[in-house]
Structures are given as C-alpha cells and as structure tokens.
Symmetry: D2
Subunit: 303 residues, 4 copies
C-alpha cells in the first residue's frame, strides 16, 4: 500500500508540480492528477488519436485560448463540440466580446439593456445582428459545404481572428457539431433559408466521417469536457468501431439520474465504448478550474 | 408572511394531496408543488402551447407511459427530445425490453455477456441487430421523409406497439430531435447509407417548423426534463419568437459551471427566452422521482 | 433478468402505489422504492432498533409532523439530530413560526427587518429573545440535567405544544445531540452561564448511552436524513458495537470530496459500520421530497 | 463592462499566475480567483481575525501540510474543525499512515483485512488500538483539561510529530471542536471513562471562548472548507458578536435542500452572520483541488 503524502506548497510553485504532487493525495486532487497522466500518455502515444468532446459554455468562460493551444500543439486529433461554443467562438472571431458580470444587474434589467447572461458572463444581444450580416455576406461561399464539418471549416477559413474555428481549419482538424441547428449558427443558416438561399448539409456524412476517423486510428482516446451531445457522439463512434483505451471526463453532473452526461466512464465498458483494460478517470470539477491546471501540466511534460 | 405548515400524512394518502400540501413546506418540496401549479395553469390555458424538452435516459428509466399519457391527454403540444430516448422507445416498440440491474455483475462481465448498462438499467446489445433489420426492411418508406420531424412520424406510423413515437404520429404532435445523428437511430440511417441507400433530411426545416409553431402560438410554456439539446433548442426558439410565460425545469445539474443544462430558468429572462413576468420554477430532483408525482397531481386536477 | 415496467398513473393515485411501482423503474425512482422496503422491513423486525440521524434544516422545511408521527408510531427507536433542528422545534413549541419566503426581499432588506433566511424559509430574529426568556425562567430545572440527552428530555417535558422534543420526552425515546453547543439552544445555555448560572452536562455520557443502546439491541438499522454529525455519531456507534443490517440514506452531497455526509453506505462495510450482508440503499433526493413519500408508503404498509 | 480575457498558459506556469488570470475568466475559475483575493485581503488586514472552519476528511485527503503551513504563517487565527480531522491528524502524529487505494479491493474484502476506506483513501483499523494505548498512557495529564479546547492543546503538547494539533499548541492558536464526542478521540475518552477514569470537559466554555475571541477582534473574516458543525459554530459566533467582513466558502453541497453546509454565504447577511457590505464568494469545488491552488497563490502574495 502506498502512503498518502501531504502536499507541500513552496513560494512560486508551478502548477505542474502541484498537479504531480496531487497524485499522492486523496479525493478529487488525485483524480485531477490521474487525468493529467492519462492525457499525457494518450498524447505521447503516436498511434493513438485523441477525440475531444467539448460541451458547456467554455468559450464564454474564458477557455478558448487553452483549446486553441491544445489544437495547435496537436494534442487533439478530432474535435466535437456544441453549436453554442462555436457560435461564441465566431462572435469573438468577428471582433465582439464577452464580459464579466460585475454590476449586480438582475435579469430583467439586463434584458432591457439588451444584455444576455451566462451565469457570471455577459454578452450584448446586438451581436446576433452582426453575425447575421456576416452570414448574409458570405452565405454563397458557405452554402457550398456538403456537411456540417465542411461548413465549419469554411467558416474557419473566413474569419480573420485567432479562434477555434480558424485553428481547426488551418490545421485541418476535423470538427463535428451534430446539433448544429441547435445554436446561433443554426439560426443564422435558417435566417438565410427564409430569404430563399439554399444549403444542403448532410448530417449523416459527419457520422460517416467520424466513424472512418476512428476506424483509421490504431488506438483511440477520449477526453470529455462536459457531457451532452459531444460526449455521446464520440461514445457511439467508439461503440461501433473500437473502444477507447484512454479516457478522461470532467463533469459535475450526477450519475444517479441515469443521463449520459453524468455517467461515469466505467459504464462505457459494458457498451464497448471503453476498453475493459483502458486507463480512465472521472474528474468531478468545474472545467474552468480543472482545464487550465491540466493544460499547464501537459505543457510542461510534452515537448 | 405565510407560515410554514408542516405536512401531515394519513393512511392511504393520495400523491396529489401530498403535492398540494408541499406548497406550504420549504426547500425542494415547495418547488415540486409550484412546478405542478405552473404546469396545471399552462395546460389549462387554452391559448398556451406547452413545449416539452425531454432529455436524459428516461425511457430506460421507466417513464415512457407517463410521457405517452401526457401526449394523449393533450398536456404536451410540441415534443423535443434526444435521439437516445427515441432509440430506446423504438427498441421497446419493436418488442425488446430494458431490464433492472439486480445481479451485481460488473461492466466487464456485462460486456462479455453482451449487455449494455445505463446506471441501474440494462439492455441486450443484440437489439441493435434487430433494429437494423427493421431499418433495412422499411428504409424505402422512411427515406421519403424530408426532415427529421417527418422521419420520426414515419417511424411512428410503422411501429405496432404503444410508444412515444406511435403516439406522436397518431396525434400529429410535432416531434423534434435536433441531434438525431447522435443516437442509435442516427447510426441505423448511416448503416443504410453505406449500403448505397439514399436519404435527404433537411435539419434546418425543423428549425423553421418549431419557430413557426411558436409564432402561431398566442402564448408559450416550457417544460424541461433534463437539459441538453432539447432544452436549448426550445430556448433558442423562444428567444427568436416570444418568451415563455410559464416554465418548469427538472434537473440535478449545477449552475456554477455555466452550462445550459444547469442554468436556472431565471437566466433566460435576460435573453428574452423567458418573459420577465413569467411564472417559473426550477426543481432540483431526479426526474424519475419528480415526474410521476407531478403527473399524478395533474391527472387529479385536469379533466 | 427482470424487465423495467413503465410506471402508469391513474386518477387519484395513492402515493404508496407510486412508491411501490417505482421498484420496477430505473435510477432514483427505484432507490426511493427500495428505501421504503428496507425501512418497512427494519421497522417490522421487532428485534431491530432503528437509529435515525436527522440533519439539515428539516423542521423549518415543514417535516416536523412526519418526524413526530414516526416517533409516535414507534418507527424510530433512537433519535440523533442537530442542535439547529431542536432549536427550530423549540421555537415552534413556544408558539413562534417559520414563514414561506414569498416576497422577493433580498438578504440586506431581510436583515434590516430582522428576518433570518433559510433558503426559501424565513424566521423572525426576535424569537431569540423569546427563547432566552424561556431559558431564564426554566434554567434552574433544566440545569439539573447531567447529560445533553437528559437536558433535552427536560426541555421536552416543559414545552406545552406538540413537538419533536415533547414527543421524545413523552415516549422516552433517547434523543442525542452531540453538537448541542453548536446551536441556538447551546447559545441560550451559554447566555445563562454568563449570568453566573451553573450547568454540568457530561457529553461523554451520551456516547456511553448510545453505545449501550446499540449493545442492547439484537439488530440495528440506520436511517440517515442528511449527513453531518448525526450520521457520523451513529456510524461510530455501529463501528464499535455491531454493524447495521439495514440502512437508508437520503442525501444530495457528492461522494468524491471524501466527506462523511456524501459517503455511500457501502463504504461503511469496510469499517464494520454496515454489515457485509446488510440491505441498504442511498437515495439522492431532497429530503423534503423523499421523506413524505416514504412515510406515506410506510403508513400504508405498517399497522 | 470588463471583457473576459481568455486564460493563456505558458510552459512552467506558476499556480499563482493561473489563479490571478482566472479573475478574467467566467464561472468557477473566477470564483476561485476571487476567493484568493478575499483571503489575501483578510490576512493582510492586521485588524482582522480569520476564523477557519475545516470539515470533511481533509487530513486523510492529503491537505495536512497546507493547513499546518497556514497556521504557521499566521494566516489562520482561530481554528474550528471536526473530531474526525483531529483524530486522523493524531493518528499520523503517532506515526501511522493513510494509504492510497490502488488495488480494487471491495469493501467486504477491506473489512476482512481490517482496512477502513474513506473514498479513495485507506487506513488500517489497528490504529484504534494504538491510539487507545496512547490515551491510556497519557490520560492523567489530558484529563486535567477543563474544556475541549484545553484538551486539544494538551494533546498537541504530547505528540512528537509535526501535526495540526502540535502546531496549534505551539502557536497557541485556539482550536475548537464542538462535536468532539463524535469522533475517534471522543471514543477514546469514553474508553477511559469506562475504566473509571474521570474527565470533566465544559463544552460551553468553548462557546464562551470563541465568542470572546470574536468580541476582541476589530474585524472578522470567515473561511469555510466544507460545512457542517465547524461552519455553523463560526456562523453563530458571528451572529451573536459581529458579522464577518470577508468570507470564503469551498463546498460542493447543494443549496436547495436548505442545509447549512450548502447555504451560500449571502444567506448569512439576513442573519447578521455576514456584513451587508462584506466581500465574499462561494467556491463550488472539491477542496483538495481548490485549497492547494489558493494556498500557492497566497504564499506568493503574502510576505
């Protein structure tokens, strides 16, 4: 039996040192440390493709640069996310911002001022008009896409600012958004269609493409930040191709009510989504806390 | 100030009586009671259309009959759900079952036996082969659908057993599943496409249809069981049409990490998803506990 | 394998019927049903003593009458609770009330008006003055107590209104409150001591007494509503006497951070707090929702 | 409105830099950053006394050295904790260890091997015999204590190893444990009493002492790690003396069920536990993750 070693902090302590030392603590600290180890291994394993499922409102939450860095550093091979994250990424890529909620305005006052609230983050509602202009201007080009994945790459090719969309396009990282219609971007496309523009996105081509990507991988790893559709879309891909041999999940959802978002990774073994001998860990933590720490440790460990 | 009245239980107590009395208690009991009142009002308000967002794995969880009854009783006007719930509904509609996890088999053993686990519910993996046969047999008919909504109604027209799909079809209740590709049903369609079958589902037509349904309603009400895409898809519809004047949400997700699933309904006021003067309540409870109780009370109150 | 049976609700449905049917559902519904079965068995097992650990603010939450009924019906043999619950019980026993928070006053306004808030329940701060008068008047009698348990029975003998304190006194149900100093009652005693009154409560006598009660039981059962000191005090008693053979826990705390309140009952097997072959279940639910339902079912099942 | 600045991580990033940058992110990251700022201010404010309420099983969780360092650095002025934390501190101070759960032994196997489990941390049950020997040897000295606080200092004076108990004793930091009987230490005292030893600890003297300490402070600050009795004991002290002007709480408990452990600090304003103009924040995070980060930042900021 290995003893618990109490974590000691010295002045100027590096985040990566703390993450390493947490391996000898208990509870969530150890899980966070294990998650970092597992991600490190999966990234260093050159035969292994890492599928990131990225849900939640983490772009408004300030996590965009970390994701971009992870994409640029080739940590992430396949990127699956929500329309919301991509819409917020696009909003910033077009020059608009999210804001800290500092004043104690209530939701009625915010509504009168045209400000949308995401917990302690704000956004001006007028950005919808601006992205509508962008779509109107560029829809002829965008509408040549045949699948959501192609559409999102085209979107990434158009934006001028550093963003998740642009990075995925530049690095040709496949980007999947199965519920694209459920987002501001989806509404913008609808807005063009009611103006008699045409587009024909084949959502099943994305199913085909992600399954192919998994088949072509010798090994697969999964990294779920939040649950929702991104997690499930990767899970079903693993189930019908090959189970993942590494897995990390960051979520604060409960397992008891039975939903996929709160289900522990272990459950995936029964389905063949996770290999019986896989290395995996569930981290119960707000991702805006866990992700910067994990990334700091990964950057110190991976050349 | 109204005093707390301690709830008293007598022999043979009706569920609806308990729900009513919970109005004078504190904490979650009061929320559950308020939720029932709000749903009752929204259902009795003949000018108001109730949009149900139904996420989670509630069909495997044993909630199917309640949803069917709510649809049959005209409580629900527009139904938005996940591909998972519809896949599990289809599985049962084709004669297969879900099972209680009673033996303490671990996930590795379950995997060897070909059994998939959803928390404390099990399913035989072989059902996938069976629904594949069903799709192969019926794909010519199904593939005539032009949108996911049409596709799901066609599916409902084919199944012989009482089910959510069949009920929505028979009663012509619009059924939306924005992330249909992210489900067993989505995989089955993909399975046909690789056999050179064709289908062309326009996912944006569903955006158009739900927006029209909201525009055509004099008033709207929202009922979210779980969060995820179903909630957000209704929320964005409200935002771009008219804010809901009644709202009930049942979720166990945390608000702090900023995701839509855990966001309190109040936040929707800033966005114009919820009317500033709306009646609404968040219920923090496992839906398999809350839903039967709410439904029991509604059945006693609504003729 | 036993199939999931979908719960059906008919008009006028009894709560106990719903609880029974939940046994064939999944997720939390099944846990709630199992909890009721386990409590029923432990109450009907005449050789078994049921230890209730009752934490949280459930008296302000409107659960007092259920607890009193459980005590009167001899469901509960040993009662362990927090000073807060007893203080709020005393407040009502002296004729004061708790109130529903209906107006949207914020905490600063409430403070100015002298109103204390417990989530959605309110209390007038002036009650502290009133219970101080009560203590001043009765302290000579109360101070003859030798242990917290004796003190609480004396308190129960003094109050004129139906209450938990009075019921425990009348029925001679042992009542333990290990953190009595951490409560309004504790402060009231301190208030007497600074007026040079004397009292000498031996807190270790209560440890002795609860251990004796467990030793004298042929079998033990535990029922934890919330965690905290009440749960742990019973747990340590079981550990040093005999492990419980029945166990039910209602809590919404997370297990991952390692605290006793969120720890699943299963963990207790390693310590010898719970018998390896015990029947037990953890219910993840707000106790103000779960408790009335469980009690309604118990009343229908136990003569 | 201040914009969200996306956090950027560079190689070798210091934890304190990450914590600082989190101030410009959203969700939990910002809360963690604010918590650090508030603690920094309260520690640097020489007129302000910081009361730490320390619950949970954080000694087994590997947080002991951080607490000792906080005590040694004079960050903490008054220390309130559970008997469990002190028992585990004593166990290590007497030379025994906690262990990482690495093998997948289940609770029944652990029980057979005499190993107690605390989530993912283990302890040999035989330590109880060892601390019993320690109490038998030293009880004459220990039993001269007149209050739990005195008793705990005496305990701290006896142990030879670096520990929380020893540090509080050496630095004369008041240490309160209102539910001392609810712990291994409590059981050890009971074990002496049944051998006819005597001790007379006045638990109300501790109420008196902590109230005096608060009265003597010009300003007070509160830091709650976990809830339970430690939080409530400090809260009631604030309520009856002076409201805190700084507050930080780390908890993963839900507010909805109404218990003190999950109650947001804001609620304390109504009671006069927290000043209306206080700076305070609730951090929703496993303390084994949040505490090392906060401490790393504090060490860099406070000379």
């Amino acid at each position: 039996m290995e003893p618990i070693k109490h974590i000691k902090i010295t002045k100027g302590e590096k985040a990566s040192k703390i993450i390493k030392d947490m391996a000898s603590c208990g509870f969530g600290a150890r899980h966070l440390s294990q998650a970092t180890n597992i991600l490190e291994q999966s990234i260093k394993d050159k035969e292994c493709k890492l599928f990131l499922g990225f849900a939640g409102a983490l772009v408004p939450g300030g996590m965009k640069e970390i994701i971009i860095d992870m994409l640029e550093q080739n940590y992430i091979d396949i990127f699956v996310t929500t329309g919301a994250n991509l819409t917020h990424d696009l909003i910033e890529a077009l020059g608009f911002k999210h804001y800290k909620r500092t004043e104690k305005l209530d939701d009625k006052e915010l509504n009168k001022k045209g400000i949308d609230r995401i917990y302690n983050v704000l956004m001006k509602n007028q950005v919808y008009g601006k992205i509508e202009d962008f779509f109107t201007k560029n829809f002829n080009y965008l509408s040549k896409a045949k699948s959501p994945k192609e559409f999102l790459w085209k979107l990434g090719s158009l934006v001028k600012k550093r963003s998740i969309l642009q990075t995925c396009y530049k690095k040709k990282i496949p980007i999947f958004c199965p519920a694209l219609t459920d987002s501001g971007i989806g509404l913008m496309i609808w807005g063009q269609l009611i103006r008699k523009k045409k587009i024909n996105l084949d959502f099943f081509r994305d199913v085909h493409d992600i399954i192919e990507l998994s088949w072509q991988s010798k090994k697969t790893a999964v990294f779920y930040i939040g649950g929702g559709v991104p997690k499930n879309f990767i899970q079903q891909t693993m189930q019908f191709t090959r189970p993942a041999i590494y897995g990390v999940q960051i979520t604060t959802d409960r397992p008891e009510p039975g939903g996929s978002s709160g289900a522990p990774l272990k459950e995936g073994i029964s389905w063949g989504k996770m290999a019986a001998r896989a290395k995996f860990v569930d981290v119960f933590c707000d991702a805006t806390i866990a992700l910067p720490l994990i990334h700091a440790a990964l950057k110190d460990r991976i050349k």
